[in-house]
Amino acid sequence: MQPVLTFTDSGIYCPAGDFYIDPWKPVERAVITHAHADHARLGNQKYLCSKDSVPLLQLRLGQDIAVQGAGWGETVQINGVTISFHPAGHMIGSAQVKVTVGGQSWVASGDYKTENDGLSGEFEPVRCHVFITESTFGLPIYHWRPQAALFGDMENWVKENEAAGKNSILLGYSLGKAQRLMYNLQHTGKRFLVHGAIYNAHETLLKAGWNLPPVELITQETPKEHFKNSIVIAPPSTADSTWMRRFAPYSLGVCSGWMQVRGNARRLNADAGFAISDHADWKGLLGTVKETGAEKVFVTHGFSSVLARYLQENGIPAEEIKTAYGTEEETTV
């Protein structure tokens, strides 16, 4: 019997349905897990994604793309193959894609996180025969503290900075992390000053009806008084840039799972590192694999050989797969 999904040069392919999931080369029909650039690429003729992903795909790939959205759990048929979308908890709209052919179900999970961050939907383990998992943080050194504790730390850090007469800058990826930070820090009553990259995504999400706090775009004209009583939110690429100098004196906090290891925070010259991630930690990965009940696991981008070997040694047939994912977002900072 032909497998439900195969791994090709262009991406994850479903021969029975003749479509690709998160293809990295242009194809006719692309099913997309989420709007990050390494998963949702330009040049495909038709896109299918979760409803919540539609405006984000249009923002990133253009208003003129042919895109269809599906609600959570709703089934879509392509060439007799059943497809459904289930929350992946990674960012707004992020989905696991379940593909069923002749009673065999495979799930491609894209990127996922098991903790509910309030915005990205509650992660839902989907029962399946074969599970395709990421492994960005697939080592037991990565275990996240609950986000309530981390946001508590950030709040204290902002207070300390204020007491020391410094502005607070939080670095986080512009799509996903930035919204998560603002949503969970809005009760502080601070003004959010944001970089242009974050501002665009924010406008799109507000228009789509997301209940996000108001933000102010940072421009040349932004008066210095506005820096007071504010939190600046900027993407990682602005670290050590001239753009950042205007906020001096400031304290720089980096929000990324990589901050779990001290050397990474030191490398970025961060004053504080908050190990907050939009990917599952080691326990999250193992727990999810178990809950899917999968008989076979394919491990993609990240510490794939480690996770595959560990699953294998623990009685779950697993295999490492090379993909073109993991070039964006948290994998680089």
Partner: protein, 532 residues
């Protein structure tokens, strides 16, 4: 322990010297009196006696976490630090206990030195189970040693000087030498040397920066003394109260390693401290032997007759800090040198020599002489103002080092491995090869020389172009060409290439150069022939 781990977090989180200074001096002002000497000891490179080793820590951590060995190793190579890896892997603490100060843990630990392994294991596991992750990290670091947190010796000295209201130079001298953090408090250590005599106490070394300007901007040549920059071990010979001590620049007491120099005891008067270079030395040819001969000697615990014959050492004297028990450091170099030269002449022993001044009339002449540095086994020239005092630590202005340009070869990267510390989880440690026919022969490893941006680029490339995996090492497609710089070259039968380099590092990334044009093993052998 909490107070100390807070200090470490503050120091690690800060990128500014002033903030570190502030954190340290307020720590020294408020910490537990019995913790302070430990903190000073740790920051000045004095680690506690090794009671358990890193293999044991690893083992016990694997037992607690039930992780297989290979997975522990993967974690270690990603984190790049054993103490931190263990702190990250252990489950949350479960034992509720009163928090204990730093010295408590170290005292108990040191008492277990002769205890059976099971008892040590129980102690460590119990300690882990009472500590928060950042405290565990600090605790593990104390045990394994190598506390590097970006605090320089001068920052420590300045912090103490601020807390105890003493001159930095006084602090620097007081905290050097031999002392036991379990036996002494900081006020005792910093009180007048007369009430707390330590005959071994060395002077802080005066160190030079690399010459930044043209020699012409230094002024008149006659105001400057030039001498060779020797490539050995910078050291200090001290004789006081009938005893002789030898210190390395790293403030390590190395008296026992050099019987040729301890034999000088009867010839030196009491109250003498000489600064100079320890070199493996060919007395007949009157020139230093290659650095490797000294290196094989210092690695050994017990010296054999053969080693003493093959690599006899001599001390080439640069300066005199103490004479007849008097501190000469504020006198001008010209005066100190005059006494030193007289002293060396009177002692009249081949193991104690003067580092000869270079005669030159103009900067142009000196530049020409410097070009020949390698001919007499030196790595360049030192310039010292004749009116200079003997200062503390690395200073600009009065002393400069003027090294010759390094050797360079173009080579291709063949292996990569992840780095440590701030380079954790990045491929930063590379092995390079030269061509030998159609083979590639690895000949050097280098860790430094690239900018952060270049490192990120190479890291990304390695992740995409790894061919094979041997534990933490990745073999990569031989495509990236780098210019490798090094200070010296010697024959070696421990290396496959037959060659050992001194201080290899990456000079620059040769993106313009194809692999076909890299240097060959024959080129290296030719270099070896010319310089040995």
């Amino acid at each position: 322990m909490h107070h100390f781990s807070q200090l470490i977090s503050t120091l690690a989180g800060s990128t500014k010297t002033n903030e570190k200074l502030e954190a340290l001096s307020s720590y020294f002002a408020s910490a537990d009196e019995r913790d302070k000497p430990w903190v000073l000891a740790l920051f000045s490179g004095r680690r506690p006696k090794r009671v358990v080793n890193s293999t044991q820590l690893r083992q016990w951590c694997m037992e607690v976490t039930a992780l297989p060995e290979w997975l522990f190793s993967e974690c270690y190579h990603t984190v790049g630090d054993l103490a931190e890896t263990i702190a990250l892997l252990l489950p949350p603490p479960e034992t509720k206990a009163l928090p204990q100060p730093l010295h408590y843990w170290l005292d108990v630990l040191l008492r277990l030195e002769k205890a059976p392994e099971a008892e040590k294991a129980a102690f460590i596991r119990n300690a882990w189970d009472q500590m928060q992750p950042n405290e565990r990290f600090v605790f593990n670091k104390l045990i394994t040693g190598g506390f590097r947190i970006g605090v320089s010796q001068s920052t420590i000295v300045n912090a103490l000087s601020r807390t105890y209201q003493l001159e930095p130079a006084v602090v620097s001298h007081m905290i050097s030498g031999n002392w036991d953090p379990q036996q002494i408090t900081l006020p005792q250590l910093l009180s007048d040397a007369a009430s707390n005599p330590d005959d071994s106490k060395p002077y802080p070394f005066f160190l030079a920066y690399a010459l930044e300007n043209k020699t012409g901007e230094l002024g008149e040549p006659r105001e400057w003394q030039a001498e060779w920059k020797w490539d050995g071990i910078r050291g200090q010979i001290i004789r006081r109260n009938g005893q002789l001590f030898i210190w390395s620049r790293g403030e390590e007491l190395i008296t026992d390693k050099f019987p040729e120099l301890t034999a000088l005891l009867p010839f030196l008067p009491d109250g003498t401290a000489i600064d100079g270079e320890i070199l493996a030395y060919d007395q007949q040819q009157q020139r230093p032997l290659p650095f490797q001969s000294l290196q094989t000697r210092i690695g050994r615990k017990n010296l054999t007759k053969k080693q003493l014959q093959e690599a006899p050492v001599a001390f080439l004297s640069y300066d005199l800090m103490e004479w007849n028990g008097e501190d000469l450091r504020l006198r001008p170099l010209s005066e100190r040198r005059a006494i030193l030269e007289q002293l060396v002449e009177n002692v009249d022993q081949p193991a104690l020599r003067i580092s000869p001044p270079i005669a030159y009339a103009s900067w142009e002449e000196l530049a020409a002489i410097r070009e020949r540095s390698r001919d007499n086994g030196s790595e360049g020239v030192m310039l010292k103002k004749l009116s200079s005092a003997y200062q503390v630590g690395r200073r600009r202005g009065d002393w400069w080092k003027w090294k010759i340009d390094p050797f360079t070869v173009d080579a291709v990267m063949v292996y990569a491995q992840k780095g440590h510390g701030r380079r954790s989880n990045l491929y930063t440690d590379y092995t390079f090869a030269v061509r030998n026919g159609d083979q590639l022969v690895p000949f050097a490893k280098a860790y430094s020389g690239l900018t952060d941006k270049e490192i990120a680029e190479v890291d990304n490339w390695v992740k995409r172009n790894a061919v094979e995996k041997f534990g933490p090492v990745r073999t990569v497609k031989p495509e990236l060409v780098f210019e490798i710089a090094f200070e010296g070259i010697a024959a070696s039968n421990r290396h496959k290439s037959g060659i050992a380099l001194r201080f290899p590092r990456i000079h620059r990334w040769r993106k313009d150069k194809p692999v076909a044009e890299i240097n060959t093993l024959d080129d290296l052998k030719e270099l070896l022939r010319q310089h040995s």
